[in-house]
Subunit: 199 residues, 4 copies
């Protein structure tokens, strides 16, 4: 028995306009300058329409995040068969994006949004598009015997992502070399034992 309701239905156009405007403003101004009124103005939408469908500023961000509107690219981890070079290549891509204009600001805005709003926090890691692909690659490495069978794949991904976030919070302008050393440490364990991580 279908539960029917009368009346007009949610406007897809309004929803789209809100998410598009939010994405635009988020990239242009960052999270803390993002306001409901600003979104409404930019989207050509009444404030009440936003409040009707989203509980907070963070909830709008979370929707944008869930639809992949906040990241310009997907960070795919290549799979050449050799774990460390693949990860290093992926890391270079990530760092290149982050060091481009507003990349660090984008991360900080996301973190601020996640800190403020549970919904954003909940979808942050998986939707970041980072861990998903990374985890897939690591699972493959486990199957290939390059990582032990019970390596904590998710946690390894989170530790790398966490280090990336901390770097963004500290506004460090290093070359990315410290992060590269971290992944080498993580994925070249035999080298670690031999003490020849670096030549």
């Amino acid at each position: 028995m279908n539960q029917h309701r009368n009346g007009p239905v949610r406007s897809a156009a309004a929803r789209e306009a809100v998410l598009a405007a939010t994405t635009r403003l988020f990239h242009e101004q960052g999270y803390d300058k993002l306001t409901i009124e600003g979104i409404a103005r930019e989207a050509g939408v009444g404030k009440q329409t936003i409040y009707r469908w989203w509980s907070s500023r963070g909830a709008v961000i979370a929707d944008c995040l869930a639809e992949g509107r906040l990241f310009p690219v997907e960070f795919e981890v290549p799979d050449s068969g050799q774990l460390l070079p693949d990860i290093e290549h992926w890391l270079s891509t990530v760092l290149a994006v982050l060091d481009a204009r507003n990349g660090g600001e984008l991360v900080r805005s996301l973190v601020a949004a996640a800190a403020e709003d549970p919904a954003v926090g909940a979808s942050l890691s998986e939707r970041l598009g980072v861990e998903r692909s990374l985890a897939a690659r690591l699972e493959r490495a486990v199957r290939d015997g390059q990582l032990p069978a019970n390596a904590p794949i998710d946690q390894i991904g989170e530790s790398i992502l966490g280090a990336v976030i901390l770097r963004a919070l500290g506004r460090q302008n290093d070359s990315g070399e410290p992060l590269r050393r971290l992944v080498r440490f993580l994925f070249a364990p035999s080298a670690r034992l031999r003490g020849d991580l670096e030549e």
Copy 2:
């Protein structure tokens, strides 16, 4: 506030009152509810006195952070000579604090403050009191040969801290076991190679 003074000297009492009020409010309400007016009210201080000496809300937080007012305890890493048990013990302490009331909220507030304000971001990692002690312990491990000579000590610390932060952002209520698996992975490399991380 302070009693009779002749010279135009910065009032130590006012400074103290501001920092104390900020600490109190930060713990009670979190970063996003923290306002300059609220601090001034709570401290019994004029708004202008705050603006005179601090450039922003974040700068006040950064001062509190720098003076160790925001953390109830210092997280010292014990040194029994055995790296992994020491780290696991330390991690248990950290997790216990975070899972206590408002512990997660405290981390999220700090992260939000760091995301918003460069000054907070800059002092976050070292002042967190976490990495300093952790790095010292890891250096000792290097000297003892438990870690390779060129292990990226700071980055390892940041990766752990980053994972802790991500856990707080995701509001996860796990037992902390995932984090424990991560440190085991990080500090038991030989086990990893043998595939017997867990029995």
Copy 3:
């Protein structure tokens, strides 16, 4: 030639519900708190149904007024043959109603509605139920020779009503004696000439 139309006709139930709800809310909350949405909610009616049949909030009020829903009683002027005692008795009735709970507020609400909406203004004086009956009594007085043949009956009524309204606007809590003095002045001209309005 009848222009025929299909479909249902205006719902008497909806009309009744709207007018009843309006009357209820008008008495409970006054004119300025009266809203179309509130009426629709109270009447269990769609907003559009109101907009379809009435042009404005004032038009609904005007309808209520025209059907005598806004006044709890009719103010009949008795006719004992003696003009002044009749008028004074009527005035006492009016004042008693006005000084009862919300009586003044009712007048003010009506005046506000009349000020805002021409339709209400147009029907205010005649529909008030005041002047109609008063004018009838004054005409009788003219026939009886108690008033000159061309006394401005309508204007006399309006002047009394106007004085009543001004009293309500000023929120005066006098006993009503000033109004009584006015009607004595109006209807005891010979006394006036003799200077013995009051003994």
Copy 4:
């Protein structure tokens, strides 16, 4: 012991700007289109400044009224020694103003404001500038013996003013003759008795 207070003092410029803007908007748009935000915008003033010093829209109007900003002219009653001609002349002046552009609207706006706000209501009659001057003239008439010693002067004034208001509420476009007949009735009692109010 004087109870002293620190801090800046109320800005005379802001007060003046608010009252001037209110007066302007009131005349241009009437009371119901008058909004706090509109006043603030027009005055170049923050909304909060208005809310700090006035409790409501009506309170601002009441201040304007009290300073005579809402009426373009003072309605002085001439004093030639002969009551009726003086009053008729005054009435002509009043009617001329009311029938000019927006005169009726002005009255209706004032009445609406008075109905909504006690402060406006309280100062309406005296500040209207109407009754004050009228009462003075009537008192003179009493002294001259043209009115009985205990004629209810204030009430007579209110009855005239009330009739004027009712006329404005009804949007009547009569020539003003009915009002003239009323004052003739009020102030030519002997004529009334002889039934020769009009020849």
